[in-house]
C-alpha cells in the first residue's frame, strides 16, 4: 500500500532531505574557512571561489562528460584562488579582509565572464547514493537519495578535528593562528603555514561550488550562489572554530534553507519568500546572540584580524 500523500508528516522528511542537500556547500565552505581562520587569516573571497568552482566544475563536466573530474577541477581552481589570497596577504601592509572582498568580486566576475557559454547546455550530474531501496514510499525514497559529497564533507570534518588534535601539522596551524610570535620563535614560517592553509581552504570551497552546479540546484547560472560563501564566515564563528561543530552548524543552516521548499512541497506557498530568507535571518540572529561586548569570543584564534 503506497501512501502518496504524507501531508504534514512530509514536512520534516522534506526538511531532512533538504537539510542534507542544502548543507553540503555550507559544510565545504565553512570547513575551508575554518582551516584558514585557524591559521590566523580571514578569507572573505570564498564566496567568489564558490561561484568560480561551480562554473568550472560545470564546464569540465560538460566538456569531458565526467562530473567527478569537474569536482576535482573546481577544487584546483579554488586552490589557485586560495593561493593568490595567501600570497598577496603576506605582502606588507595588505589587509586580508579587504583583499578577500576584492577576490570575491574577481571570482564571481570571472566566473560569469567565462561561464557565459555554459548557461544553456546540460552537463552530467553527480550520482547519488540510494539509501531508500528498502521502502516503497516515494517521498522517503527521494529523501534517502543522499549525495556522496555530503559524506566526503563529513569525513573531512572528522579528519580535520583529528588533525587539529593529534598531528604536528594541526598543532602548528593552531599555533600560528593563536600566537604568531611563538611560531616564529620556534622557527616556523608563519606566512607559509597560512599560505598552505588558505590554499587548502580554497580547494574545499571550490569543491563546495561544484556541488551547486552538479547536484543541487544542478545547473550553472549566474544566480546560483546566494551568499553561502559569506554566510560560512558567520557559521565558522557560530561553530567556535571547531570542524565538527561546523558540520552540525551547516546542517542547521541547511535545515533553515529547506523550510521554504519543504512547505511548498505540501502546497503551502504563503510566506515562501519569508521562509527562503530563513538562513539569512539565522545568520543575523546568531551574530547578535553570540557576540556581546562584555564577553570575549571564546575559542577565537588570537591572531585573527576580525577578533583582534
Amino acid at each position: 500500500m503506497a501512501v502518496t500523500e504524507l501531508g504534514w508528516t512530509g514536512v520534516p522528511l522534506a526538511m531532512f532531505a533538504g537539510a542534507i542537500r542544502v548543507s553540503t556547500p555550507f559544510l565545504f565552505v565553512s570547513l575551508g574557512e575554518c582551516l584558514t581562520e585557524k591559521s590566523g587569516r580571514v578569507n572573505l573571497g570564498l564566496e567568489g571561489t564558490l561561484v568560480f568552482g561551480a562554473m568550472s566544475a560545470y564546464a569540465i563536466a560538460y566538456l569531458t562528460g565526467s562530473p567527478w573530474l569537474g569536482v576535482l577541477v573546481a577544487g584546483i581552481a579554488g586552490s589557485c584562488f586560495g593561493a593568490i589570497h595567501g600570497f598577496i596577504s603576506k605582502l606588507p601592509k595588505v589587509n586580508d579582509v579587504a583583499l578577500g572582498i576584492a577576490l570575491m568580486m574577481f571570482g564571481t566576475g570571472s566566473a560569469f565572464f567565462l561561464g557565459k557559454s555554459f548557461i544553456q547546455p546540460q552537463a552530467p550530474h553527480l550520482p547519488s547514493i540510494d539509501f531508500g531501496f528498502w521502502t516503497s514510499i516515494p517521498q522517503l525514497k527521494v529523501a534517502l537519495q543522499i549525495n556522496p559529497l555530503f559524506f566526503v564533507g563529513l569525513a573531512i570534518a572528522i579528519a580535520m578535528s583529528w588533525m587539529f588534535r593529534t598531528t604536528r601539522i594541526g598543532l602548528i596551524v593552531r599555533m600560528t593562528g593563536d600566537s604568531s610570535a611563538t611560531a616564529l620563535a620556534m622557527g616556523y614560517s608563519v606566512d607559509r603555514v597560512r599560505l598552505l592553509a588558505t590554499t587548502v581552504g580554497g580547494f574545499l570551497a571550490g569543491v563546495g561550488g561544484s556541488f551547486l552546479s552538479l547536484y543541487y540546484p544542478g545547473a550553472w547560472n549566474e544566480g546560483l550562489s546566494s551568499g553561502q560563501g559569506l554566510m560560512a564566515v558567520a557559521l565558522v564563528i557560530f561553530a567556535r572554530w571547531s570542524p565538527m561543530m561546523c558540520f552540525w552548524a551547516a546542517l542547521l543552516f541547511g535545515a533553515a534553507g529547506a523550510i521554504g521548499p519543504a512547505l511548498q512541497s505540501i502546497g503551502i506557498s504563503q510566506g515562501y519568500h519569508f521562509f527562503n530568507a530563513a538562513p539569512y535571518i539565522l545568520t543575523l540572529v546568531i551574530m547578535i546572540v553570540s557576540i556581546s561586548p562584555k564577553r570575549s569570543l571564546r575559542g577565537a584564534p588570537g591572531e585573527l584580524s576580525i577578533t583582534r
Partner: protein, 508 residues
C-alpha cells in the same frame, strides 16, 4: 667540551654591542657565567639587560661581539642555533600558545615532534617527566585558563623538557606572588647546585638576588660596570654599581591633611569578568581628598576588574560612582571634567597605543585641546612634539626620541611615559594599579614619591597593589579585597602586616 662532568652549560660574552639606529643600547658588554651557578644580571630600566640576553639567544644580531659557550666560540644566528647549544630563555612576556593545552604546548615545542602524536604515550611520558621535576602544572588545561604563576612554571618546565642547560630568565618573578617566587627560585637553585643547570636571571629585586643568586653582573646605560660574588657585596654596593653617583629621589614627607572631604565614592559596585561570572560584588569605598587608600589582595580577586571599571574598560552591572558628590561615568568627558587620571597595570596594553609614537601617546589626554589642536579638530604636530620633549626630560623617559613607537621602549620607560602623561596636569582623583611592576629601585623611589606628592597636593588616590610593602609604605588607609568583596578596611596606624595577610587569605 671534553672533560665535562656536569650537564650545566657555562657562557661568556665578549664585547657585545648592539646599536638600534642612533641609540647604543649595549656597548662592549662582557659577562661570564660559570656553569652550575645562579647569576643575576642587574641594571636600571633601559640599561640594556633584555637587549644583551636577546643577543645571546640570537633573537637580535649583535652589532659586534662574541659568544663563548663552554669555552668554545660559537656563532648564534637565530634562536634555533641557540637551541642547539642548549641555551634557553623565558621572555618577559609569555610565549605559550593560549589555546593549546599545557601538554600540546610542550610536545609541539620539541624539535622532533612526531607527525602524528600518540597522546596516550606522550601523556605518559609527560607525567613521568613531571614526576622528576620539582613543580607541577595541569597538563590537560588550555594555557589561557592557567594562572600567571602556573604559566611561568610551564615556561620554565618547557625549557627543562627541551633539555636546555643554560636558562635565561627575564624578570621571571614580576608576575608571581612572593610565595610562588620563593617556591620557583628555590627549586631552580637546587637544580643549579646539583650541576644540572645554569641560570642567568634578570631581576630588580635585591631580596631575590641576596637569597638565591651566587654571582651578579651589572650593566649601566648599556655598559658593563662590574660583577662579583653576592656573598662579597652588600645591597648598597650593588645599588651603587647600578646607578653610580646619581642621587636617589628623597622620599617625600607625608603632609598631614586637615580636609575631611570625600572625593571619590564607590557605591555598591557590581561587575562581571570576561566569562560573565561575577568579579566584583557590592564594593563600597570612600576616598578623601589628600588620602591614599591602598587595596591589597592576592591577584585575581577582582582588583583588575575594579580598575577596569573605574577607567571605563569594563561596564558596571550595577552601582554608582560619585566624585565630589556628583555622579561619574568613566567617559573621556567626565574624566576631563572631574580630573580623573590613572596608571593601570600593564600600561603597554592598557594605557597606550603600542605602535603610535611616544609623543602621540603622551598627547592622548590633550590632543583635542589647544595648543595641540586648533578649534578642536586640526592637529598640529609641532606643539605636540614640543610638549613630549618637555615631559621626556622632566620625567627622565629614556627613548631615542619623541617619534619612536612606544612599544620599543623598555618596560620601565613605558611606565614613566604614561605617568608623565597622567600626572603632568591638575589631578583630583588618581587611580594606580601596581605602579612599580618591573621597575628598578631608583624608578620605584621616584614613582612612589610622585604618588605621595599628588596626595600632598590634595588628590584622592586609590592604589591597587599586590605588593604588600608598597601598600604599607604609601597608604593612609588599607582595604583588602577578597573574592570580589572588600572584606577589611582599616587606617594604616591601627593594623599590621599579619592582620592584612590574614584578611587577604580569606579570613574575615
Amino acid at each position: 667540551m671534553t672533560d665535562k662532568t656536569m650537564p650545566a652549560v657555562g657562557l661568556e660574552t665578549v664585547g657585545m654591542t648592539k646599536i638600534f639606529g642612533s641609540l647604543v643600547a649595549l656597548e662592549d658588554a662582557s659577562i661570564r657565567v660559570a656553569p652550575g651557578t645562579m647569576h643575576a644580571l642587574l641594571g636600571e630600566n633601559g640599561a640594556g639587560k633584555s637587549t644583551l640576553v636577546k643577543c645571546i639567544m640570537g633573537f637580535y644580531q649583535p652589532t659586534r661581539g662574541k659568544i663563548i659557550v663552554d669555552g668554545v666560540e660559537e656563532i648564534v644566528r637565530n634562536p634555533r642555533d641557540a637551541m642547539k647549544l642548549k641555551l634557553g630563555m623565558v621572555y618577559q612576556h609569555f610565549t605559550l600558545v593560549p589555546s593549546l593545552t599545557a601538554a600540546e604546548n610542550l610536545v609541539i615545542s620539541r624539535p622532533d615532534c612526531p607527525s602524528i602524536v600518540n597522546w596516550t604515550a606522550e601523556l605518559a611520558n609527560l607525567e613521568a617527566f613531571l614526576d622528576r621535576m620539582p613543580f607541577k602544572v595541569p597538563l590537560r588545561t588550555p594555557v589561557s585558563s592557567l594562572s600567571a604563576g602556573e604559566k611561568q612554571k610551564l615556561e620554565i618546565l618547557k625549557q627543562l623538557y627541551l633539555d636546555r642547560r643554560f636558562l635565561i630568565l627575564d624578570e621571571p618573578t614580576s608576575v608571581l606572588t612572593p610565595g610562588e617566587a620563593d617556591e620557583i627560585l628555590g627549586l631552580l637553585r637546587d637544580m643549579t647546585r646539583a650541576g644540572e643547570l645554569t641560570i642567568l636571571m634578570i631581576t630588580h629585586k635585591f631580596r631575590e638576588v641576596n637569597a638565591y643568586c651566587d654571582e651578579v653582573s651589572v650593566l649601566r646605560r648599556g655598559k658593563y660596570v662590574g660583577s662579583g660574588k653576592v656573598s662579597d657585596l652588600t645591597t648598597d654596593e650593588m645599588a651603587h654599581m647600578m646607578i653610580g653617583d646619581t642621587k636617589l629621589r628623597e622620599r617625600s614627607a607625608r603632609v598631614e591633611q586637615g580636609a575631611d572631604r570625600t572625593v571619590l565614592e564607590l557605591s555598591a559596585l557590581f561587575a562581571s569578568d570576561d566569562e560573565g561570572l561575577p568579579a566584583i560584588a557590592s564594593v563600597d569605598l570612600k576616598v578623601k581628598a589628600g588620602e591614599i587608600v591602598g587595596i591589597a589582595g592576592v591577584s585575581g580577586n577582582g582588583q583588575s576588574e575594579l580598575v577596569e571599571v573605574l577607567s571605563g574598560q569594563r561596564d558596571l552591572d550595577d552601582g554608582r560612582i560619585f566624585i565630589n558628590g556628583q555622579p561619574f561615568e568613566p567617559t573621556r568627558q567626565h574624566m576631563d571634567k572631574f580630573k580623573v587620571f590613572g596608571l593601570p597595570e600593564e600600561p603597554l596594553k592598557n594605557a597606550t597605543a603600542p605602535r603610535l609614537s611616544v609623543a602621540e601617546n603622551m598627547a592622548m589626554r590633550s590632543f583635542d585641546k589647544p595648543p595641540i589642536s586648533q578649534n578642536g579638530w586640526w592637529l598640529s604636530p609641532r606643539p605636540m612634539k614640543a610638549k613630549a620633549r618637555e615631559l621626556i626630560a622632566q620625567y627622565r623617559v629614556k627613548t631615542p626620541g619623541p617619534d619612536t613607537p612606544i612599544q620599543n621602549l623598555s618596560g620601565g620607560n613605558v611606565q614613566r611615559a604614561v605617568l608623565a602623561r597622567e600626572l603632568s596636569g591638575d589631578v583630583e582623583v588618581l587611580i594606580v594599579a601596581n605602579p612599580c611592576f618591573g621597575l628598578d629601585f631608583a624608578s620605584v623611589a621616584d614613582i612612589r614619591a610622585q604618588i605621595i606628592e599628588q596626595r600632598n597636593s590634595g588628590a584622592a588616590v586609590l592604589l591597587v597593589s599586590e605588593d604588600l610593602d608598597e601598600i604599607l609604605e604609601l597608604s593612609d588607609r588599607v582595604a583588602v579585597m577578597s573574592e570580589g568583596h572588600i572584606t577589611y578596611v582599616s587606617p594604616i596606624g591601627e593594623t599590621d602586616r599579619n592582620t592584612i595577610g590574614h584578611a587577604m587569605a580569606g579570613g574575615h
